[in-house]
């Protein structure tokens, strides 16, 4: 079993959803980013989603746009993010790491080379925002060869017929984008999330993570009652923008979110 499958199986046994913490790789710089990464499992993150900085993040709202800019200004390259994951893996061989980014830096490195190096760094999954399934075959081939799941986004605009096509080569989990919009702006409507998760689960048989629009522990708990995983990103990276002690504050915020997810179904 892959790390993702193992993790979801374990949480299913515990009867609770996974808390997925998103941080941008290299934000605000390599040392702090690594420290945050290393602290996240202890703070309650079941899965880490690690952003790949890109100059033109079309689907991100201001918090993650700014996080990408900070990481790029600090000189973060794609290989540096893989390097962070590799260092993290030395001490933690259980917490799954899913990369989330845009196609061009991966295309620029080359799909085969990227997949091989990401696999070696202990990466478990990849989300590429601007690569719909129609354009994804050669990338999926390269990832498959290295045991990395390509995790597809499903949105409120994805109808049932399309859902089956999107899910076709998806593995690990499906990421349900709970609002039509960019990250970190609109808030998800909990009442809409439950039927949507059910629809995705039925079509794919895979665990369903919900993100884009989950900011507070309260909302995370609501989503955790109906979904298999809850992703929080913008609320965490926003702290880095403002905090004098980002490691402590990000981990404290992650702990509050993780606790809320853990208590949600009790």
């Amino acid at each position: 079993m892959s790390r993702l499958e193992t993790r979801f199986a374990k949480l299913k046994g515990e009867g609770r959803a996974a808390f997925v913490a998103y941080v941008m790789g290299g934000d605000p710089g390599p040392e702090i980013s690594l420290e945050i990464l290393r602290g996240l499992p202890g703070a309650g993150a079941d899965i880490i989603e690690l952003g790949l900085p890109f100059s033109d993040p079309m689907a991100e709202g201001p918090p993650i746009q700014k996080a990408a800019q900070r990481a790029l200004l600090a000189g973060t390259k794609l290989r540096d993010v893989l390097g962070l994951a590799a260092v993290f893996r030395k001490d933690d061989n259980e917490t799954p790491i899913v990369l989330m980014g845009y196609l061009n830096p991966i295309l620029s490195m080359g799909f085969e080379l990227f997949a091989a190096e990401a696999g070696a760094a202990g990466i478990d999954g990849l989300i590429v925002v601007d690569c719909p399934y129609e354009e994804g075959d050669s990338l999926t081939d390269a990832l498959d060869a290295n045991g990395i799941s390509l995790i597809r986004l499903v949105t409120p605009t994805t109808d049932d017929a399309r859902l089956k096509l999107v899910a076709h080569r998806t593995s690990g989990f499906v990421y349900y984008v709970s609002v039509a919009g960019v990250t970190g702006v609109k808030e998800a409507n909990a009442a809409d999330v439950a039927p949507a998760v059910e629809r995705v689960r039925k079509a794919t048989g895979l665990p369903v993570a919900v993100g884009f629009g989950v900011k507070t522990p309260q909302r995370a708990a609501e989503v955790a009652r109906v979904a298999d995983a809850v992703v929080v990103g913008s609320a965490l990276v926003d702290i880095i923008a403002e905090s004098k002690d980002p490691v402590r504050e990000v981990l404290a915020s992650a702990k509050a979110l993780g606790d809320a997810v853990r208590a949600a179904r009790k």
Partner: protein, 407 residues
């Protein structure tokens, strides 16, 4: 360069069903937008085949835009350079002063047929924004135009024009605050307002079907040029030259000639401060293939695949990408692409004003700067058509500043 890409026998057959021109194009958008671009493609294909749509569009192009635009023999510029006779295709005489409205008229009629009630657009120089605001005013639709904050500053007259036309101009401060950032922000708006909003892209780039659709609407330039040259000269021109940023006026001019092997097609990229510097906007000669804004195409990017900021004195060419069909034509060598610096464009701007009494857009001045060499290569017996894509009234402040004058 991809030397393996074969030249097709029929350029009209492109793009293919996946929106590909060879390896370029495609639909690289977020899943939220995929159903929307697939729907747009279907609706566009159906609408294109509907004679009532073409009749409606033709009516507006004739009576509102002022088409056909004249083909004008630039006698003094021809004498100045020596060589082939130079003709101007006068797109600057269109309503709103540039070729941009050809595409806007087509797309807004389509948007209304699709039942969309809100229009968004990106703009660089402001010409596409003005053209979009114009058609939105004409048909009574609300319009939001995203424009880089840097461009808002250097194209103030066009910002004011858009406001007069009732459009809301939203300055974009992210990134380099120019055209690519405006396009990012327009995409963010679209992904947020999926049910009522139509994204009216101004250049022949973006996810399929935009590159093909914008090309089709701009092909009126090349079709008219063809007929006008046949009527005036009894034969096709020996060469057609146009500036390329995203490349909509150039692809519109080139496309009806692609299957005519005798016609040389020359695109002029903005080389800014020069190709030895990092301040240019020449995606083909200075970039490499990548994915941005929904399509695979040549892009200015660093070794890590981060998109670089383009530079050109002309806001309309200040974009780090180019339409995918140009990338294809470049690889298969059906079109040639040359460069022109800021300084050469300024000289050509002045030359055209002084010799022909026409103040060209700085974008078009890039083509004017290269037309002399082309005319001499073609020779005295031949003809060259230059696409005068826009007028330069909007640029007088930029030019005055570059010349060290205050107005």
């Amino acid at each position: 360069m991809n030397a393996q890409t074969p030249a097709p026998n029929d350029y009209d057959a492109l793009p293919d069903a996946n929106g590909r021109f060879g390896d370029y194009g495609g639909r690289y958008v977020a899943e939220t937008l995929m159903p929307l671009v697939l729907d747009l493609e279907q609706q566009y294909e159906a609408t294109k085949a509907d004679p009532s749509f073409q009749a409606e569009l033709d009516g507006y192009l004739t009576h509102y835009v002022g088409r056909p635009s004249p083909l004008y023999f630039a006698e003094r510029l021809t004498q100045h350079h020596g060589g082939a006779r130079i003709f101007f295709k006068r797109e600057e005489l269109n309503h709103t002063g540039a070729h941009k409205i050809n595409n806007c008229m087509g797309q807004i009629l389509l948007a209304m047929r699709m039942g969309k009630t809100r229009i968004i657009a990106e703009t660089g120089a402001g010409q596409h924004g003005v053209a979009t605001a114009t058609v939105c005013a004409r048909f009574g639709l609300p319009c939001v135009v995203y424009m880089g904050a840097v461009d808002v500053e250097r194209q103030k007259p066009n910002v004011f024009r858009m406001n007069l036309l009732g459009a809301e101009v939203r300055p974009v401060t992210s990134g380099a605050a120019t055209l690519k950032d405006a396009m990012n922000e327009a995409l963010r708006d679209w992904v947020t307002n999926v049910s009522d909003t139509y994204y009216l892209i101004g250049t022949a780039a973006g996810p399929h079907p935009y590159p093909a659709m914008v090309r089709d609407f701009q092909s009126v330039i090349g079709k008219e040029t063809r007929e006008q040259m046949l009527a005036a000269e009894g034969k096709l021109p020996d060469a057609v030259i146009a500036c390329v940023g995203g490349g909509s006026n150039a692809i519109g001019a080139f496309h009806p000639f692609l299957n005519d092997a005798s016609v040389r097609l020359v695109g002029v990229e903005a080389t800014g401060h020069g190709m030895m510097t990092d301040k240019h906007a020449a995606s083909l000669t200075g970039g490499r293939p990548g994915v941005l804004h929904g399509n695979k195409t040549y892009l200015l990017q660093d070794a890590d695949g981060q998109i670089l900021d383009a530079h050109s004195i002309s806001a309309g060419l200040d974009y780090p990408g180019i339409g995918p069909e140009h990338s294809f034509l470049y690889d298969v060598k059906r079109a040639e692409y040359v460069g022109c610096t800021d300084e050469e464009a300024l000289d050509a701007f002045k030359l055209c004003a002084e010799l022909e009494g026409i103040i060209p857009a700085l974008e078009s001045a890039h083509a004017i700067a290269r037309v002399g060499e082309l005319a001499r290569e073609v020779g005295e017996d031949g003809t060259v058509v230059l696409i005068l894509s826009g007028r330069g009234d909007k640029d007088i402040f930029t030019v005055a500043k570059a010349l060290g004058r205050t107005i």
